[in-house]
Symmetry: C2
Subunit: 157 residues, 2 copies
DNA sequence: CTGCTTGCAAAGTGTTTGCAGGCCC
DNA sequence: GGGCCTGCAAACACTTTGCAAGCAG
């Protein structure tokens, strides 16, 4: 019943996401240091299709820049998320996935299948009615891309 | 003292959720055993207001039925969830919360504040437009109460 | 050179599992 | 009394932290 495997069903490459150059520029602009570890993380995120788990990023980063430590990757991801350069999404029962931030105006949310664990991208605008309702009725500002919506996908039904 | 609080709360309006008796009956009907540990978990869930973390349930269950072990509470919760007697919701970065299942027709989802961590109940019907969209466009069956929606609450903004 | 970042190891969380014994039905 | 449930301890997955050394700016 526990879903540990993370399968990504995303076919489209990283369209709509910022690039490594843009990310590095933002770092410079914010007076943050450009370090090998951070570059590695950004390039890994840029290179992969879709979302990646922390474990995947750790492996691939250490792959391309040997010596990069797990803890460093976590710290880099944390920093990059704080700066808005990277976005993270909480996945039920399987930690967190990361990707480069969306370019302005094309934010997206995630659907997660509770059976097979696959994650599907969803335009954030699909949530706008809900966002409005929640804002009006509860004075609550929804962050639609921050947690995956759970359900069952076509294949698993 | 904690016991007194529990008893007091037990008479409080746990509106919309099934009761302990109903839960026990369902267990019997499904030929599942009624054990002290399971009764303790159900009464704790029934007594508390709103959602409880696994850790809270463990503490309170051990409180009212000394000797109940952590692992047993987890197993009881797992069983009860499988039977649909208890519902669980994944909370970003903080594990899982549990409560007695909703009585038919009054399902609810959850809003979680990413700043203070508080969890707010939300009628599931607020998600029906989204549920429809996702069903029509992605052939994806949403389970709105399975994961909390994240955002920022009034107080934290 | 200053102090933010890193590598390392170890500690934290939250949850699960193997096993022998216990108790519900 | 058979077999599901339990207590225990240990394992598990994921993430964080204290510290001394290292490197970016």
């Amino acid at each position: 019943m526990r879903q540990a495997i993370l399968v990504t069903m995303e076919s489209a490459p990283t369209s709509g996401r910022i690039g490594v150059d843009s990310a590095l520029n933002q770092l410079r602009r914010r007076h943050q240091r450009i370090t090998p570890a951070r570059v590695a993380v950004l390039e890994v995120l840029s290179g992969g299709v879709g979302h990646m788990s922390a474990a995947e990023i750790v492996d691939l980063a250490a792959d391309r820049t040997p010596g990069v430590h797990r803890a460093t990757v976590y710290r880099a991801l944390s920093t990059l998320c704080d700066l808005g350069i990277v976005t993270h999404t909480h996945i039920a029962g399987a930690g967190t996935i990361y990707h480069l931030a969306d370019v302005h105006g094309v934010a997206h949310a995630h659907l997660q299948c509770s059976v097979c664990g696959s994650v599907i991208d969803l335009p954030a605008e699909a949530l706008s009615p809900l966002t409005r309702t929640v804002r009006d009725s509860y004075d609550f500002t929804l962050e639609p891309q921050h947690a995956a919506l759970i359900g069952v996908c076509t294949n698993c039904r």
